[in-house]
Symmetry: C2
Subunit: 325 residues, 2 copies
């Protein structure tokens, strides 16, 4: 029996996968090396992002979608992310409840992640966990966010297909719009559609989408479907899964999948570099000195260009002509 | 007579100011040094950001606000920014028309800026031009954007007071909301209020604002005013200027000005460092190599961590323990 975590993970060992996720969450230096080795085995799963206002019933919907995917004999990973909370308590409780429903199924893996430090860090960790699940052979990976703010938009950007969940009632639609969510939705779901106003909510979304549409209808343009579900009743779930598969097929056939992959790799490499810069700043400049420098600039004793130059030199980001000086 | 551009600018020489703006636009290395020397004389102007959907009449409104400020004997600078266009043609034409109205007034300075390369670069250049006008003694500097997208939001973030312009009619409100503009508005203006639906537009905005409000009313919370203007008729303009001054006083008295200044300095220094990183990447990695690296990662021949490490080393952003290796 191999003791190498990467080999064990790739051969389907759940404990190795759970350990890997923990290493990623803790930003362990080993995680990076393992992820690099896993990377060639990734890229096969459909990554689905689910976002929407708190209280829209996202958790229940995701659980039902996962069950439907299991009925279709697919292995499903779920990563529930809460960027607003540094504590995993609530999220873990949510896990336990869901675990009861999908308990013991070796083809389902559910994990919660809460904020640890920066948003950039959480978005990167979420992407890396999805990647580990992908490499471990989960054919669909669902990234579910708790809220629907700018942070959540950032997190679901890593997905192939973004599902935005709303409920009947104007307030939630506005919350969704506020965060720029209209642009990122590939599929809209009006959940709790057994409540009054579901048809009106769907009609409002349809109107907003047509107002926001920049391109005429054509085979190369995805027409965002607006689906009604009642997740607690299990109604409308198969249609959601069908739409997710249609979207995946659309991405492949239109050539958008390749472009999306290229853009995501470029963004990831840039983000990794900016993270490296931020790490170096953190290692190099104590908080107290930051505050001191900012005060000096605000009070005009120093200027921002000078301070940036100083810090650039401190982190080793010097001019190529001056390298080694 | 001094030939030093900084001294001439500070003594009120318009040609020195115009030259300085050009140097900033062209990202001339000299600009940075001059800005560093100007910096101690900046920080006195009220910086106003004006954004809103195309066609909302922002240019006319800004011209009228500038005239009202002149009536109150204040020196006014206007920076019109078009992040969507790499060409200055249209913007320059707009300048000329406005110049006729405010022509020959030495206490008004109007300049257009169009996109040159990155959004980050344009936002930084806009901030630097506003700073030069501030140091040159313009007491109010208006940054006006052409559109109302994410780019414009980024650009007006540098302002003390953000004025969002809409017109009667649902579509524009939605466009504004989409870009996350609700959060950044300090003052809403419903322009073209002589048209039907102005009261309704104002009422809708009031409702959206109350839905979005996170805090209860208190002296520390700014209640966003919704003002109606008819810029072409010159109606409602004095009220807009009054509201801008009230907002400035609110910022000072509530202590929010100090916090805003600290946050902006922090953001600026970080942005300068990220710009330095991007510059180093551009100098170091040719486009062709970027494409080659991205393809290699997409095709799983390389992994993103490896590529980021490679590039980090290339730009000098090495580990402190390995510095000098």
């Amino acid at each position: 029996v191999s003791t190498d975590i990467v080999e064990r993970l790739l051969s389907g060992d759940r404990r190795a996968l759970a350990r890997m996720v923990t290493l990623i969450e803790n930003e362990s230096p080993a995680a990076r090396e393992y992820l690099a080795r896993l990377y060639p085995q990734s890229g096969r799963a459909q990554i689905i992002g689910v976002t929407g206002s708190p209280g829209a019933g996202k958790s229940t919907l995701v659980t039902q979608v996962a069950r439907e995917l299991r009925r279709r004999d697919l292995r499903v990973g779920v990563v529930a992310v809460d960027p607003s909370s540094p504590f995993t308590g609530g999220a873990i409780l949510g896990d336990r409840i869901r675990m009861q429903e999908l308990a013991g199924d070796p083809n389902v893996f559910i994990r919660s992640m809460a904020s640890r430090g920066s948003l950039g860090g959480l978005a990167a960790a979420t992407r890396d966990v999805a990647r580990a699940l992908d490499a471990a052979g989960f054919q669909v990976v669902i990234i579910e966010t708790v809220g629907a703010g700018q942070a959540e938009v950032e997190i679901v950007r890593a997905a192939h297909s973004v599902l935005v969940v709303t409920v009947p009632g104007m307030g939630d639609d506005i919350q969704a719009l506020k965060a720029g969510i209209l642009e990122i939705a590939d599929i809209f779901v009006v959940n709790k559609a057994d409540r009054p106003g579901a048809d009106q909510a769907a009609a409002e979304l349809r109107m907003l989408l047509s107002l926001a549409a920049k391109q005429p209808k054509s085979p190369d343009v995805w027409r965002v479907p607006i689906l009604k579900t009642s997740a607690t009743q299990g109604e409308g779930i198969a249609e959601v899964v069908d739409a997710l598969f249609r979207h995946r097929a659309f991405l492949s056939e239109s050539g958008q999948l390749a472009r999306r992959n290229q853009r995501q790799v470029y963004s990831e490499v840039l983000a990794l570099l900016q993270h490296a810069l931020a790490q170096r700043l953190k290692q190099t400049v104590p908080d107290e000195e930051w505050q001191h420098l900012i005060d000096a600039v605000v009070e005009r004793r120093e200027n921002p260009y000078q301070v940036a130059d100083l810090l650039a030199r401190r982190v080793g980001l010097s001019d190529p002509n001056q390298a080694g000086v």
